[in-house]
């Protein structure tokens, strides 16, 4: 599930950790692999609807392990397809139900309407979040899920609620591609800081020059939907 540029999220975490003076160890988890023992950050992307079905069975199998990590406070970023499957279920247009692993209290319904285009959201913790959404599944939040952000421009979780993504502890599910982390370095640093602090008790670091990210954010904000 790597077709929508979510590789950028991995690259940003890797480079920023290196620039901060850490040595990240990246494990690509694929269907059927042994689940790695020592995990500090989990990220996952979206894919074709067909790709979704392939990983579904395996995801359900490792669900309890991911759930335990989530309860422990391990930071996670799930984009689009995996955001949906980290919820309770995904009901497709032809009424087939894919059970999720229930870490996020959300449900997703397949629709004929594609929510697509540049999107700007806003959260208290991260300020304006800038990205691109492209999904036909619409997600509704249950009472135990907190929205990740409020939509300023674009659609978000669904066509009516005006919020985007969902959080539980340090787990963030979102529809934002773009990739999301390059243009939202605050979010990248939240994942890094949380993970490093949990591992080493503190996060000491140099300052990264994010001028290009700021300029790219400004340029993206002015673009049509």
């Amino acid at each position: 599930m790597n077709i929508y540029g979510d590789h950028g999220n991995l690259l940003v975490l890797q480079r920023r950790l290196e620039w901060y003076g850490y040595e990240p160890n990246i494990i690509h988890y694929n269907v059927g692999d042994a689940f790695p023992a020592d995990v500090d950050i989990v990220i996952g992307g979206g894919g074709q609807d067909s790709g979704q079905e392939v990983i579904h069975k395996d995801l359900v199998k490792i669900g309890p392990k991911l759930k335990a990590l989530a309860e422990k406070g391990v930071p996670m970023l799930l984009v689009c397809g995996l955001y949906q499957l980290f919820g309770n279920f995904f009901k497709t247009l032809n009424s087939k139900t894919l059970t999720g692993i229930g870490i996020l209290d959300v449900e997703t319904h397949g629709t004929n309407e594609r929510l697509i285009g540049n999107i700007i959201t806003s959260s208290e913790a991260f300020g304006d979040i800038i990205g691109y959404e492209n999904h036909s599944g619409q997600t509704y939040l249950g009472k135990n899920a907190i929205p990740f952000a409020t939509v300023l421009k674009g659609a978000g979780n669904n066509a009516k609620d005006g919020h985007e993504g969902a959080c539980y502890k340090n787990v963030i599910g979102t529809y934002l591609h773009g990739s999301i982390l390059p243009k939202n370095p605050k979010l990248a640093d939240f994942l890094i800081q949380t993970a490093v602090t949990q591992k080493y008790g503190e996060f000491s670091h140099d300052i990264i020059d994010d001028l290009l990210a700021d300029l790219a954010r400004d340029a993206a904000s002015d673009r049509p939907r």
Partner: protein, 423 residues
């Protein structure tokens, strides 16, 4: 026969549109609105029927090759040479070629069509032959998903009345074969050794390319190195030098040859095919080379990650000044995610001299994370181009650009050098 009024009116609009420069689809739009049956009635006159070429990458250059191959065999070919591959682009091209009574002097029409526009087109005008090149991540914001694009190509195949030519190495394209019952299917492909150079979007982050047994292909690109290639045509091997550059252009030459075989059958002359392919040059902006200040300047169109990756792989940056221009207009695709699916590390040693376009800062940010140094960032294309040329005198230059950035750059370049006019 189209109504004479429509033809005269359409031709006038075409003339005026060309005077104001650019806009190859505008006159077609007029005709489309006035006489919707115009294309259908005009194309129905052709003795050998209609050929449709579609897919994500390489339509324009492949169409150019097919036209050259058919013409070398003595056919008169009508085509939409502009790369304006929407229905109205076809109407616009027709207007240029028909006489005042609406008669088209051609044996066959070879048309490149954008995937989405091809579907209603083939519904109205079923092609005799179709060639489906590939399905890659491109303009997903327009079509939704790759699988949806594959379904569009499948509809083109199903509407075809005679032969469908498919890319054996693209799993989504090859799968279309299973949905066809009434059509002959021919395949083109790559030798196992070349296959590793063509990772698909799916393979890219999945490690090594899986080896599976593949069906036999009619035309195979066996070897490709430098500017020479070896093909296997219907079981025989032929080698030639090429004026084409870029691996993907060369692979598409195998596609063009396979389609030519399907159309001409026993009348195909292998020697004519090889001597023609040897002379074909890339279509505009697809590796086209201009001269600026006594130095070559190459324009390379990039519109999706696979195309960009293959471009970077095909052209060595050593000794060149490199510029990248990224726009996000409708025709380019609004979503910038794709830049993150291209590795730019190959540019790290030489750096990128100039970054430009509406999304210059997105591109610069991408380069920052591959630790590639950047000379200047300038969103305005004409300023950036001037800066790029002035700062790199005496050095060959290369510009990677998205579609609308390329149109602007060509217009600017035409003020200082000879740029082929596209009619």
């Amino acid at each position: 026969m189209p109504h004479p009024f429509v033809v005269i009116f359409g031709k006038t609009v075409r003339y005026i549109a060309r005077l104001r420069g650019g806009g190859s689809a505008l006159p077609g739009l007029f005709v489309e609105k006035i006489s919707p049956d115009f294309i259908k009635t005009t194309l129905a006159q052709l003795p050998l029927g209609v050929v449709v070429i579609s897919g994500t990458n390489g339509k324009t250059t492949t169409t150019k090759m097919v036209v050259a191959l058919l013409e070398a065999h003595g056919l008169t070919v009508f085509t939409n040479r502009t790369g304006s591959n929407f229905t109205r682009g076809v109407a616009a091209a027709l207007l240029g070629d028909i006489d005042i009574k609406g008669k088209l002097d051609a044996d066959i029409a070879v048309l490149e069509l954008d995937e989405a526009h091809a579907v209603p087109f083939v519904k109205a005008i079923p092609p005799r032959f179709s060639l489906l090149l590939n399905v890659m991540r491109d303009q997903l914001d327009r079509f939704g998903e790759i699988d949806a694009t594959a379904r569009m190509l499948e509809k083109i195949a199903q509407a075809t009345t005679d032969t469908v030519v498919l890319n054996r190495e693209d799993a989504r394209v090859l799968k279309i074969k299973d949905s066809l019952t009434d059509q002959t299917v021919e395949l083109f492909g790559l030798s196992d050794t070349l296959l590793a150079d063509f990772p698909s979007d799916d393979d890219m982050r999945a490690g090594s390319v899986k080896k599976v047994k593949r069906p036999l292909a009619k035309v195979l690109l066996k070897k490709y190195a430098g500017n020479s290639a070896t093909y296997e045509l219907a079981g025989r091997e032929f080698s030639t030098t090429l004026k084409l550059n870029g691996v993907y252009n060369v692979f598409n030459s195998a596609a063009a040859i396979a389609l030519t075989y399907a159309i001409l059958a026993d009348d195909t002359k292998p020697d004519t095919i090889i001597s023609t392919i040897a002379q074909v040059t890339p279509a505009f902006g697809r590796g086209e080379e201009l001269q600026v200040g006594g130095q070559p300047l190459e324009l390379i169109l990039v519109k999706n990650p696979s195309g960009f990756r293959l471009g970077l792989k095909s052209f060595s940056p050593v000794g060149y000044a490199t510029m990248i221009a990224i726009n996000d207009n409708y025709a380019d695709g609004r979503d910038m995610s794709w830049l993150w699916d291209v590795d730019f590390e190959s540019l790290a040693d030489e750096g990128v001299t100039e970054v430009s376009g509406v999304r210059a800062y997105d591109m610069a940010l991408r380069l920052q994370y591959d630790e590639v140094t950047i000379g200047h960032i300038e969103r305005d294309l004409s300023t950036a181009l001037r800066q790029f040329i002035d700062n790199n005198q005496g050095k060959p230059k290369r510009i990677y650009c998205t579609y609308t950035a390329m149109l602007t750059l060509r217009r600017e370049l035409s003020k200082i050098t000879k740029v082929e006019t596209i009619s």
